[in-house]
């Protein structure tokens, strides 16, 4: 599904990512982890072809720009003027209109929201509700690849569980490949098929149980006590 070979990103004199390579197969959930400033968001933006990079990125054997209509994307930050008058329903329809009303309601239910918010202004939603609406919009047309940058930000613990169930549902029912940036290693290690650990370069890659060794986590975060990363939550 995604093939990344020798991907490097340089801004001016600063190397943000150096020679990163990994593959994500169809229907897998992969998490990109790493400390703040390690290049996680840059990696996602390079995979999507939003920023210039060296190396090769292929999605379904095509350059990212050729397959964009099959990709759902939730960015890390969605800054908009909360006073801009647009309803949740209008926002959901922006990428591709003519979605039936019951599909809107079904999608909102999937992300844990009531259909009654369809007619509410987008700017009146709480941070957690807005994040769920962004995820609903990214998945409403069942993309073959879903990319999320720190998607559980602003969602509470119960909502987070529901959110990871949604990702599994996308994978199991629609065959969607999911790539997400996350800080919560304990949670993702029970949910994802692959982890991609980056800190300017690829530190580890593979199934969580094999890739997330104490040695690799120490290399990634520069600490030795790996219990700091695991919070004993299991989904």
């Amino acid at each position: 599904m995604i093939q990344v070979k020798n991907l490097s990103v340089v801004f001016g004199n600063q190397t943000i990512l150096s020679h990163v390579s990994f593959d994500v197969n169809h229907g897998e959930i992969a998490a990109i982890i790493g400390p703040n400033g390690s290049g996680k968001t840059t990696l996602i933006r390079a995979v999507l072809g939003l920023i210039p990079s060296d190396g090769e990125v292929l999605i379904d054997n095509e350059p990212p720009s050729h397959v964009r209509s099959h990709v759902g994307y939730v960015p890390q930050r969605f800054r908009f003027d909360p006073n801009f008058p647009i309803t949740v329903r209008e926002y959901l329809d922006l990428p591709k209109p003519h979605v039936h009303k019951h599909e809107h309601a079904h999608k909102l239910k999937e992300v844990g929201l009531e259909a009654s918010i369809l007619h509410k202004p987008l700017g009146s939603l709480s941070g957690g509700q807005l994040q769920r609406v962004l995820i609903a919009q990214a998945t409403i047309h069942h993309p073959s690849l879903l990319i999320l940058d720190e998607p559980s930000t602003g969602i509470d613990i119960v909502g987070e569980e529901q959110f990871y169930d949604l990702l599994k549902e996308q994978r199991d029912q629609h065959g969607t490949t999911v790539v997400l940036v996350s800080h919560d290693i304990a949670v993702i290690s029970n949910v994802v098929d692959q982890v991609i650990c980056v800190n300017k370069k690829l530190v580890c890659f593979g199934p969580p149980k094999q890739a997330l060794t104490q040695e690799k986590l120490s290399e990634l975060y520069g600490k030795t006590d790996t219990s700091l990363y695991f919070h004993h939550r299991h989904y």
């Binding site: 933006r45 999507l48 939003l50 964009r68 209509s69 990709v71 759902g72 994307y73 939730v74 960015p75 969605f78 908009f80 003027d81 006073n83 801009f84 008058p85 647009i86 309803t87 209008e90 926002y91 329809d93 922006l94 990428p95 591709k96 209109p97 007619h119 202004p121 990214a138 990319i147």
Partner: protein, 267 residues
Amino acid sequence: MDLFQFLQYPFMQRALIAGMFLGILLAGLGIFVTLRKMAFFGEGIAHASLAGIAIAILTGFSPLPVAIVWAILLALLIFILEQKTKLPIDTVIGIFFTSAMALGVILMNFTSGYQPELLSFLFGSILSVSVIDLWIIAILTILILTWLIASRRQLTFLSLSEEQAIVSGIPVRFQTAVLYVALSIATVLGVKILGIILVSALIIIPPAISRLHAKSFRAHMILAVLFSEIIIVFGLALSFFYDLPSGATIVLVGAFIFLISFIFSNK
């Protein structure tokens, strides 16, 4: 005083029809101008069109078509420079706006005698809309509105989140370039009635009033156009009956409606 007396004069009929076309066009585009926080664009293009008008007067061509071509070229240059340099758009517009206006002033220096065309372009005139101007305004308005209505969702999406719009397959660069060109054409068309100094008011004020009341994007578009038409019709009528400059009267009517809306709205 017969309220409809002013409609008996052909020049007033032309001004009113042109104004109603422009009201829809400027308000429709203005929604995206206010959303993208690029109110300076209309201001800049309007002032920069002075050089196009000066070129037309010096060469003996009709000012409106020359000013439109000039404004399209400027809009494309602003778009290219914005893409290439990554400078903020208001900085790029500021450079072009002042340079083109300065060029216009220098070129005007070479024209001799009284220039009624120039004055009507600076401050707007209801007497200045010819039958040919009216046709140009009508045809270009219909073309731009057709594109605007078809592209409204894409324009909203790319204005709210450019990266999400790119990933969803929207041709963001193309649509942005077309928006700049459409806005530059609409601004120059609006200069006929409102004048260089005041045309940008009709891009900003109706969407601003609409935002005080609208709770959905659909309502925002409808209300912006509705307020724009009310402002133009009342403004033109007042300017006729009290022999006031059309551009200034229209803008003051708009500002008055904004003030009343602001007082009675809860936003």
